[in-house]
Symmetry: D4
Subunit: 251 residues, 8 copies
């Protein structure tokens, strides 16, 4: 029930066209209908600053294109993640402006790019095999209007590589730190900076890494303060959360 419908109802009561008892019954279900209306009308973009994102795993190319069309009908930007080759092809056929970020396994469609915020989101990763997850975070943050600095292959076995970029890390508002295996990089990074660190465990590793559990546990148990964690391989979630944090600095 939207506002005009509500006014109509009250007018009907006032005019005696609707009995109090009937109005009571109609109004009892008001709470949800009202919410329903508001949310459907582009509410997510207004509120979150970016429309719904399509997680493509488990969806067919046809489904993805259909959802993409629905989103782009009311929005200027689209982000689709975990795009298998057939989905990339389908999106490209459907949207000439579709851009494939190969390493990130993501596709973006940008009708009008969001203006960039001033603050920087730094994306770090420990090893070269962590790059796809880091890129998913970086592409997500970028398309949501953030400046992104990338620092890849700075794992703790070569501590000097990390220390060498120390000042650039200090310049970032938020740091997304991606690591597999023992997942120690976020702890070390968090000890060097005074900004929120979002740790992303990856499934990189073998044996007792258990598909990323070792890294996930290490990050959850970090002795360094200020770290929060997202799901294994969830580069998108990290980029999204980093963008929400970086947006705080805008105000």
């Amino acid at each position: 029930m939207n506002e005009s419908r509500l006014i109509q109802l009250l007018d009907d009561v006032q005019a005696g066209r609707l009995k109090t008892a009937d109005a009571v019954r109609q109004l009892k279900s008001l709470g949800t209908h009202h919410l329903e209306f508001a949310r459907v009308d582009g509410h997510r973009t207004l509120r979150k600053g970016f429309p719904e994102v399509i997680y493509c795993e488990g969806k067919t190319p046809i489904q993805v294109v259909k959802i993409a069309r629905a989103i782009l009908a009311n929005n200027d930007n689209l982000l689709a993640t975990r795009c298998a080759p057939d989905i990339v092809r389908a999106l490209r056929r459907a949207f000439p402006k579709a851009h494939h970020h190969a390493e990130a396994r993501a596709v973006t469609v940008t009708k009008r790019a969001l203006p960039k915020r001033n603050g920087i989101i730094a994306v770090l990763c420990a090893g070269t095999t962590d790059i796809p997850v880091a890129e998913e975070a970086a592409v997500t943050a970028d398309v949501m209007g953030n400046n992104v600095s990338r620092f890849y292959d700075v794992g703790i076995a070569g501590l000097h590589r990390l220390l060498a970029v120390n000042e650039e890390l200090l310049a970032a508002n938020v740091l997304v730190v991606v690591a597999g295996m023992e997942g120690a990089l976020p702890s070390v990074v968090s000890g060097l900076v005074d900004k929120p660190v979002i740790a992303v465990p990856t499934s990189v590793g073998y044996g007792a890494s258990f598909g990323g559990i070792a890294a996930l546990l290490a990050m959850l148990n970090s002795c360094a303060s200020g770290i929060t964690v997202v799901n294994i391989n969830n580069g998108f979630g990290a980029g999204y959360a980093a963008s929400l944090m970086n947006r705080l600095a805008e105000k």
Copy 2:
């Protein structure tokens, strides 16, 4: 080596009181010694905005008091978490200004309170048994100079309780959401707001809650974007990270 000591050294070189070779030798150990010294002498306070926090579990009252003295020698504020009764007593004896936050199981000593930032950190929890963890987060955020709004016992089994405070949630910069059992509250909250949500699983529950694992997994797998997660029962970590995020909004 602090900054004044460094200036002195360079002045000595300039004035010819110190030979280049000797200065080289002294400076070679500067990196760590400087950092080392600086950190002991308030460096952490400068960088992180708050001195080292004492996690009391596994420490004796004597150890805690000793560390507390060392911190308070150079800082205006102290936070000690997970304080058992004997540690509370010891801290109170040692520091007349010690304040015991009973529900949070925390002790603070405040020589000069930090000025409060404008932004609000909202702390929510699902049930009454989650309150100790929520309070640890709230006390941490408070002592670090943040305004904190508390919304307790707003679990999803009574969704209306949550919806009733919807507008107040929207007013916060960062939301710390604490829940045990199935840990669904952060997902629902994140769907209602456009700010970073820090999810804190608690060990509240029984049977297959496995001391908080059920809630932890639920939070890591949230379908709502913008959630990051800390360790089970880690109210301190959530409050600390929330403070770092809220500080971004200051600038």
Copy 3:
């Protein structure tokens, strides 16, 4: 906002005492406030047929009594589960009508008992050490207005004990089957009846029973159709769900 308050508002509109615009504003917050109010004022009782139940673990005697008072202010019945001795004492002191179900570790306060439904809920358990959980289910179902038949110590190592009560099992509308160790009883029972079977794993067992995980997994993987499962030791949840199912048969 309760119903009489709502009628008042509409009457005010109809009588011209309240302007449409003002009524709109008041009604916009109706959804949650109305729900909020309604739930506190017996809404849960109306909808679920029984007021909120107090899970006492992790609550102090004072907290429990306070919640109990709030519930009994508007309801005829109270159920408190997992009551430690000090909570039992506190409830007894506060409510002369409090009845302690020792084996079930539950306390009920009955101002006016609910009328009994015709259908029967059968509660079975495999061994004598499973009885506390079974009793929690039985007491829950009983206080919610169901006739309960108990069949205890009918584990599958003595299959004849189970087969001997076959006809009585067939007479039940719903069966709650409680078992620890290998948790096979629900599968066998479900093969004998044509009614919903609610399986309750218990933490009874040792070694690789892992506090009930073995039984839980067995029940989730049952080869017999028609079984659903609740959490380890969750007798209350089983009794509650059984009551909802049995209520279907009333209509």
Copy 4:
């Protein structure tokens, strides 16, 4: 031994054609042989209201067709679940009336459809990738003689979608709620209705969802009362149990 055979035996005894001692010997083996016979000859249909269902995973097309023939020799309906394409083809070749429910990965053969009960079973799912499991539940409930209402893609990240169908949910006798990832939907749904909710975790998700364990644990630990749970992806089991519950409402 079926009933007519038993009557014959007793008639023979009464008529003196069979000696008591011989009848005793024959009857001693009655328990199992009688059961055995009865079960093969429609006993399951009589008792459970539906014949044996074929779970096709791990069976060859030839095996499936053979079992299907045996079932259809004595029954009007057949349900085969988890049908790979080669099994679908084999069933279609063997039974012209075979109907393939593609999304549910199920095949039904209906010689004479069961009459529909009045009560409604609502099947909800959180995301589009949960639909195969939801459809398996829906098809199972449908073929067993129930009216089924489907509410798909109503996950809690868009709470308004769920609230919008609130009244239709209240109209159902039983609700099957399917969700992967953090598995929070059943808790929220159960807070809105007063009917049994059967929660079905799915393996949808990645990283720390562990093939559905996260959702399973969330559902087992739900803070909302009245929820029971089936195995991961077990849409069939949920539909079957829902049908048993809905049948209670018939009486």
Copy 5:
């Protein structure tokens, strides 16, 4: 329904005192009643060679004594395992012949000892802390009429200790091998003998032994053929199974 009751029924049919239809109804429930009767009458002792054993954990002294009385009313022997001190005292008070096997935490009551079989059951354990579990196995096997040889503290870190008793091991019919930590002893023993080896993991160990899981997994994965495994710390189960195996050699 016992045999005489069955004959009576058939006689009634033959004599026309019972109608065929009524007899059919009574006979339909025959299967279970017949089984019921046979099992109740001392059937377990006849079949298994030893009466029911009381697992005392989770039972009160009163319950244990009551069950013990019921068993001893019809049997010559009693075995109670996992006896806490209060249960030992209660059994001793109730049964003057009660014998407490302190290391095994077991109590036996022997009115007439079972005759000993010729074959030997060897019980080995790796370390001194495994002895309670080994003794539970040894006492169980002994009370069930077996000759038992004990070989304790023969862990693989001192291989010579094991090799020194090689010939005595070869003389046994069955070997129960108890070990905690890495649980490797059964594999080594099985490589030395040609008889069934029952492996018993114990919860002895620390850290990543996980309460016996490490030993359990090692035993299940043994590269040596002929090993079967019982639950962690389940000395009783091993002794019982060993006795069943050793009884085969009697015939």
Copy 6:
């Protein structure tokens, strides 16, 4: 060092051809060489009653054939398990007498069959998908000289199927009981017989069966006495152990 070599050495000492000191040095390494000799010379066949068995998984066809040749050079029988098609072909090419047991995925080569023992080993399985594991057990027991009775598809959801073969089960010396899913069959069978029951969990199942862990845990936690357990899908191990047990009955 074999016996003749030892006599030679002692003769050399006696004759003065070898100094005591030299003999001491040579004899110090005697322990292992002596063992070495005995074992190499057909010792396993003598002791275990059957030569080494080839577990083919992870071995190349060439490796398998080579090991097979080595075994058959000194033995009359060969058993190879887990044979992939290429290994079956290779064994058939190499040994004209090779017999492929397709369901058991095993190959046997029998130059002279072992004489059959009198006792019977019963092999049961719960469902049709458990048959490959059951057959591996049956073929193993058969080739090792045992009479094997098979009882397949007697799962507990159709208890009458099991009760129908009760007497045949009582005739067996040892019972191998194979089951996946909730793994309850061994418990039920063990309650019916007085012989050793070897439980074999299978990886049959889905969702929370976790590749056989649910069944494994159920079997380890069986409330029925006399059950021992082997690894998931380890039909061979069960058949081998059953043969060792059945051989006890020979003596």
Copy 7:
């Protein structure tokens, strides 16, 4: 910042060419730049005695060749592990001296072989399917300048095989012991020698071996002193650590 650059800076200060304040700013970042410089310049080879090793899993052939070129530009030796066939081909094409160790799945390129140390590293494995992991350890140790003795297929089910090589094991400085399944070999070996034993669990096994977890846990819980453990299948890590240990004996 290297040393000459530092001297220059101080000279500039002394000469008045650089202001103290500016020098302070430059020196503040000294610590890391200094480290950075040192490490880039061949530091790893100097320090560890061997250049970086390429772990090829998850890398493309092009990436591997590129990294290999970079390493060989400054080093005499290259080791690449876990080489899939396409990577082997790419390395062979790129480096004529590339040598493929097929069983170890490794490629080495040796421009000038390292001189061999005197001490021996013994590499043992339990079964033939463990050989690839054992060979990875052996090749790693060999290329790093160690003499390697191989003892394969000496699992504990045939203890004599191990005892037969006892003296050769005693001759080694370090022992790498590789085993899957129950992982007991390192415990037994460690009981025979007085040197460091590095245990390597492999994923060889099935069922409850859980991809090597059973072996890993057994090794971590070894009752024999002096064992340390590496990750599942991590032959490289074991060979590398063994080389570091053996190098100690050189000095």
Copy 8:
């Protein structure tokens, strides 16, 4: 059989006092008896450089003292670990020279201290609560004749503390690195040195540290080469292995 006994036997043969056949029979049992005897009589000390160590957990004070006496009868040194207060008291009463290492929870009895090796074993730990485990390692290494350097509270959250002792770490032959929580310290240390690093996970931490599993997994998955791992909290094992490694450097 000890060496003098062996010489006697051979002399008897040479002198004709013992027949060859009789000598053969006696020598056949030599392997184990000889080993048995040798081991009891100081063999372990000869081979391992230190007598058996008493792990006191799960042993009574009487048992510990008895074993201690047996060891000290033939050895100069004793090490008892995990000593509860009552065991400490018992050892002190029994052995006046007993020395209690309170932080290490260990007792040593030193009749004649072992001479110290030249090489240094460095023991590091991350936090103050890790000290008991680090001390157990340090005391073990010390009593076995090694020089030990301690570096405590050098966790990675304060990287400068570690870098400050970099040169001292480089001076050690072996490094034992103890850490709980995320267990990242060994990785960072191993990146700084070229010596074997033994990583010791501790159970320090909470929530998802799972009693040390998080740290254990991190260490097993370390991206730095040259790390080997011992069991959780196994300071003794680390100290023992470190001593074996350091002893290599002696030769």
